[in-house]
Symmetry: C2
Subunit: 197 residues, 2 copies
Amino acid sequence: MTADRRRGSESSPTRQLLLDETERLMLEEGYAAVGVRRLAREAGVAPALVLYYFKTLDDLFLAVLKRRADGEFERQQRLLDSKPPLQALWELSRDPGLALITEFMALANHREAVRVAFAADAERYRKAQVEAIMRKAESGLPDVSPAALVVATTGIARILGMESALGITGGHEETVALIEDLLKRFYGSSSLAVDHD
Amino acid sequence: MTADRRRGSESSPTRQLLLDETERLMLEEGYAAVGVRRLAREAGVAPALVLYYFKTLDDLFLAVLKRRADGEFERQQRLLDSKPPLQALWELSRDPGLALITEFMALANHREAVRVAFAADAERYRKAQVEAIMRKAESGLPDVSPAALVVATTGIARILGMESALGITGGHEETVALIEDLLKRFYGSSSLAVDHD
DNA sequence: GTCTATATAGTGATAGAC
DNA sequence: GTCTATCACTATATAGAC
């Protein structure tokens, strides 16, 4: 299973370094900044070495996506179980660290292989989120579809993040206040001070 | 004012054709498919002619954005005044024709000139939307910030469109049902059957 | 207003030496 | 596992003929 799409071992330090630098480049300059030569320069290796570990750029992006998705899924599950799930979701989706997701969303529009993998991950995450809501459904929860709550909550959080990145901020404060007020009403008035880190 | 960024008259049929083909390419294959050679081939002209009308690719994208923004703004204002504004906004933001906006959003991440112009347009649209809500604020409207309602309504609609384009559909039906139910409660139970065209 | 021809630089990817 | 050298192709942009 390791034979034809990739050379080198999965645990190779160089390979990990290339994945790290790819994530950094995507976050700091966008996915378009990631190329064989540029990535090699950032990592301090020869361009051909990038293609030794990742036969194509698709393979590189897919590897970044996979490493992220696995790690983040576990983090999500932990948070979903540690506090009211909708509130956990709101905080998770507003985490600036999730900017990489936005970048992958854009990338998915232009690379079919990434699109397929990204969509599969997104559905997997969403399924787990809906299940967490249903699992912990308490009396305070309104009589609406858990799936709709998940989509609306994460969707608004992500739109706010995307717009902010473009310098669009009109109405953002009011929207954050509205959502956090609604969460407060759903879950009672425990502190909702969101700390991102 | 026509001198140094562009040659050719603003009403030139060839220029209009290039703008049309750019929009079509962006919608069908994404902004990355738009280049001097490709666009020229699609329009059936020589590559250099593209650069005769648009000195740089930035100028081309900016011209597409401007032509769209002007036309759509008028359409938005008409719809905002012809029916309950939040409902108008929901329908407007779900119009598949707005997929071009998503493409520009992605493009804005990678072209500073486009980012600035796009952000200015977005703030202008949002301002007009909030004003329409306030202008027609009726008894049925809930006691929440009009700006928050605008951001949430348009944001959810746009996220649904973006996800659909990637093949992510989990929870979408439920979300549409939730929003349309809320709109019904806000505005009474007049027909909400959405017709996109 | 439209074209050909070209300049300069970039890209992803491969072969093969070490 | 890492390198140099190179292939084939694309990019934006310009100069100047018609």
